[in-house]
Subunit: 365 residues, 2 copies
Amino acid sequence: MKTKLLIANSETNADMYYATRMLIPDEFVYLETEIGRKIYVSDLEFSRALQEAKVDEVLNIFSYPKKYKSALAWIIAENNVKEVVVPDYFPIKYADALRKMKVKIEIKSGAFFEERAVKQDDDIAHILATQKVNEKAMRAAIEVIKKSKIRKDNKLAYGSKILTSEFLKEFIEMEFVRGGCKSEDDIVSCGMNTSQPHNAGSGPIFAHQPIIIDIYPKSFKNRYYADMTRTVVKGKASPEIKKIYNTVLRGQKLAIENVKAGIEIRSLYGKVTDCFEKAGYKTELGSQSPEGFIHNLGHGVGLEIHERPFLGPKSEDSLQIGNVITIEPGLYYPGIGGVRIEDMVVVKEDGRDNLTKMPKVLEIK
Amino acid sequence: MKTKLLIANSETNADMYYATRMLIPDEFVYLETEIGRKIYVSDLEFSRALQEAKVDEVLNIFSYPKKYKSALAWIIAENNVKEVVVPDYFPIKYADALRKMKVKIEIKSGAFFEERAVKQDDDIAHILATQKVNEKAMRAAIEVIKKSKIRKDNKLAYGSKILTSEFLKEFIEMEFVRGGCKSEDDIVSCGMNTSQPHNAGSGPIFAHQPIIIDIYPKSFKNRYYADMTRTVVKGKASPEIKKIYNTVLRGQKLAIENVKAGIEIRSLYGKVTDCFEKAGYKTELGSQSPEGFIHNLGHGVGLEIHERPFLGPKSEDSLQIGNVITIEPGLYYPGIGGVRIEDMVVVKEDGRDNLTKMPKVLEIK
């Protein structure tokens, strides 16, 4: 086998966490050779790494003999490394240093650990546990919207206060913490803000306007994410939003029904765009005013919120057994608003399991 | 001026957020030339970027003419780029692609935006606001320990439950969310776990043992961090821990008193190790059992929890006016435990302002 090398922290770099199952906030070194998997960590992390890291050997990176110019030079010499495989995001400073030492670098495009995209039973159990917390938070947030009253100016009042995007995001985050999870960011957008898929939302929530709730906590125990989106309207949705909603829902259902091992991702994507175009919803891409279905159909979920496989229109990959992916079509039109509906499914040989149990209902009384 | 190039997301990459003040979870391109600062984003982010990004121009990365092989080739050609400055962590795949296009790459070692280490008044106000939330959470957590009763087995009982590290971390996280903040990870460790500086802690909290609480929330509004650590003992600290505590406190006081613009970081560090050694506390580094003062004296705090300047023993830098840094000496001995005390200070011309107001008390009744 080829020698693999990673240099990163394991808090923001999921490959490093995957390889070691240990959280280290600062950069360290992972080396995988025929002999085994080792890490090189600082004095600060050494004794903890001996206990926590799921590797064959832990070394103190500061223990290198003075005859070496750097820890990296020592690691390369000690392990007799002539050639290494590194991820395509490997830092240029280390790549150049290795090349200077005459180490040949093979850059692995795409997934560094391909097996990360193929979830095992325990990965799926972790994702499902996070998703349960996620659905609880989503239900609780929708309950708040239900309990709110519509004022004359169409703002919502929850108790004595104007209901805002900020309040709902804090409320959701509290539910996450209660469930042993937290999130990086949440989206609770309303009205015209929904026409921008990643607009996080701010200010009052209005009746009769689309509200997009897209939430994605991670467990602080095992660091697995879950992801879901619901679009709702408090009161009455306009005929236009209703039609968009029903179209997105139909597109999502069609995509989910077609998920199975072996299907080409771009063909799955094409089914959704065909469905949208038949309903009269055009997509404008690569322009000064992108609109329609302007993002991927979904993405893998695991130790990262966005990971492989990516369900883009030009993907050359097919789905594999064990992929955990979101199916989240959306339609966005400036001046009208946006709708997105997102479930998380596991790819099976002949179909899929939907990990998202929560019903999809547009209008809330 | 030289052309600067970044390719990264702005959720985990603070340089990218600093340059654009806009959160984008997927990779995009930032180019800074004499003419101005522009970003290239996907269809998905385009209209939001027009509103949110603090740059001179926003372009759709998918709008490149077909005659170009890639978006990157288009960006280089359109901007007539012959040479770029990139950060030392720049991904090898893009570096190699640029070199293939005959673009000369200058790798900037250290800080990509040096001005990030020199905080302006509004940066300091943001950090202080986060620190207020942090101190509130710390006080509340210590109050829980105060209210807990010591059982016969020396475990603490809070109400009818055994007080655990997990409970305290969840409790702290709730306080953060209530204050508009959240944290990546918190440390609440007890007993022998405290001898590992980054041991996050787990299980019951015991009386008469050191408890290290190291917490570092970030505001979800402006993304500025704060950082603090207190070490406490519920009940009676052993003479050994008391002596370690007083030594660390003396070392911290000495370091803080010596903080001012122009002081060499390694000399500041040296004062602390001298103080520790005089008290009989040796440090063992680069070995199979590191112990003593086994980490940096502190680090910059801002849009990242660990950012420049890093207060390492071998640093060749001096402190500058406007640095916001932690001063957090610690001593750690396997079999005995650890103590760390951490404040956050702003470097001034003739001294420093301590942003951390909370008193330091070892024993809690």
